[in-house]
């Protein structure tokens, strides 16, 4: 069933990720015994995960299982919250991003993020929102900025809808458009990995379909890690699925396998809707 839906979303140059390269592709990002806390509460209790390159990995689990905290640890945003602490390693292309020598600002340029609620900068136009990351990081080359804005908006499937209104405020768009604007904004910085924290939870089904469409198209160039508690969404767009419960990783595997023959009883119960 999942494959069928995927075929519907994709265009002709469809390549089944499950049968070809992904099974053997290298891990782009890897966590080793990752633990996170808020004050005294331990939210992540030792996560070991490998995120394969150029694929979509969905992180599923009931509310409060730590999935949002997990991806917030992957670009070192978690530590910005007062009282938040992280232990363990997150390895990006062989380098532990929590090593004291690593600059978190540089890491965040390589690992972009899209948040649960669309959060365009309210004082900026659509254009300025898209290239905010470039401009504020000191890029002055106007041609490059304009080109990047168009490219990013196209990749986020938003260009055709906004190309005549680039000067309008970003907040004037609909919720779904705002979320795709946020995706474009993350893309403009040219990251290698994009983290998405329930990017469709505030959107209606039509807007969700458009965001999903752009996610599937993006994995050609990016490694995508998406948190969702919508199981249909995980099935539709992801190549790999991780199931978390109470701060622990319960199961990880190719999406079709996790959904069709889950190894763990908890995963099966969650997928069949017996809890969560």
């Amino acid at each position: 069933m999942t494959t069928k839906i995927r075929r519907q979303i994709r265009n002709e140059d469809y390549e089944d990720p499950l049968t070809s390269k992904h099974r053997f592709s290298a891990a782009k990002l890897e966590t080793k015994n990752l633990r996170a806390r808020f004050g005294k509460v331990e939210v992540l209790r030792g996560i070991n995960l490998r995120f394969p390159e150029n694929s979509v990995t969905a992180i599923m689990g009931p509310s409060g299982c730590g999935k949002t905290t997990l991806i917030r640890c992957l670009n070192r945003i978690h530590e910005l919250t007062p009282g938040a602490k992280v232990e363990g390693e997150v390895i990006l292309d062989g380098i532990n991003i929590y090593s004291p020598k690593v600059d978190p600002v540089a890491i965040r340029k390589r690992i972009g993020m899209v948040f649960q609620k669309p959060n365009p900068f309210p004082t900026m136009s659509i254009f300025d929102n898209t290239v905010a990351g470039l401009k504020l990081n000191g890029v002055r080359d106007k041609k490059k900025i304009v080109a990047s804005a168009e490219k990013s908006l196209r990749m986020a499937f938003l260009w055709d809808e906004v190309k005549d209104d680039l000067k309008k405020p970003g907040t004037a768009l609909s919720g779904g458009q705002q979320q795709r604007l946020c995706i474009a904004r993350a893309l403009a910085v040219e990251p290698e990995i994009i983290l998405m924290d329930e990017p469709c939870s505030a959107l209606d089904p039509v807007a969700t379909a458009k965001v999903e469409e752009s996610i599937v198209a993006l994995k050609k160039d990016f490694t995508i890690i998406i948190v969702t508690h919508n199981m249909q969404q995980a099935a539709r767009i992801s190549d790999f699925t991780a199931f978390m419960y109470l701060g622990q990783l319960i199961e990880f595997g190719e999406t079709s396998e996790v959904f069709e023959k889950p190894e763990n009883e908890l995963t099966e119960k969650y997928i069949t809707g017996k809890f969560g």
Binding site: L80, V105, R108, G112, F115, N119, F121, N137, C182
Partner: protein
Amino acid sequence: MTKSNLSANVSLQRKIVNVLMTILVLVAVVLALVPLILILGDVFVKGAPAMSLDFLINRPTAPNLPGGGIAPAIEGSFVMVGLATLISIPIGVGAGIFFSEWSTSKLSTVSGFMNDVLTGFPTMVIGLFVFILIVLTTKTYSAFAGGVALSFIMTPIIARTTSESLKLVPTTLREASMALGIPRWKTILRIVLGTGKNGLLTGILLAIARASGETAPLLFTAATSTLFIKNLMQPTASITILIYYYALSSVPSWISQAWGAALLLIIIMLSLNLFVKLVIGRSLTEARME
């Protein structure tokens, strides 16, 4: 007991209470507004005749000679409030950023509390403090000392309004910016300050309005003068001090000019407040509507 009986009883009692409370509230409103209207009306009636071009652009003349004005005082007030604004904006905005963006640090909590104490500090004490600090050291009353004294009043107001308006900027915007690999200092300067700038501007204008109406801090620092400003290190007139001296004098033309100066001061303060309410207030609501 039927339904209609029940509602009839309640509605009678409720109507009486309702009418009584409405009257009480209206009386309170009238009591609060009457003094304000009386002051405004009185100042307008007595101050308007003094208003003229001469009044605004001329130096004071000897008692009861016609054509004298309060231009040096207007100039002095503008210069000293301007100087105070220049000092207060960087310090106040900087402190406000610290209170809001480092709100979990102990130093921030303690200094925030001190800032609030300073906001309500007796202005006379501030005037005396600056008198000792600057007037005694430089051995002259000056616009510089006056400006510094006014900045003691403006800075804590700006710091507090800055921190309050920056706290209203959603955390998600800071995170969105940081997640783009934008360093924290740039996130604060461009995203957080940019989003909260209307609140900042409101705070700065209200602080200017407050400083324009202050008398006590200038009494021992700028003193007064009948001359235009040649440099910042000489005694300098201001509208408020001029009102103080003219109103206490026995010269009819000066007393009339004191009323005129009071009217001018009220007009300046009212327009600052109205500007904040109408222009910035409207753009704030528009931002929220979007």
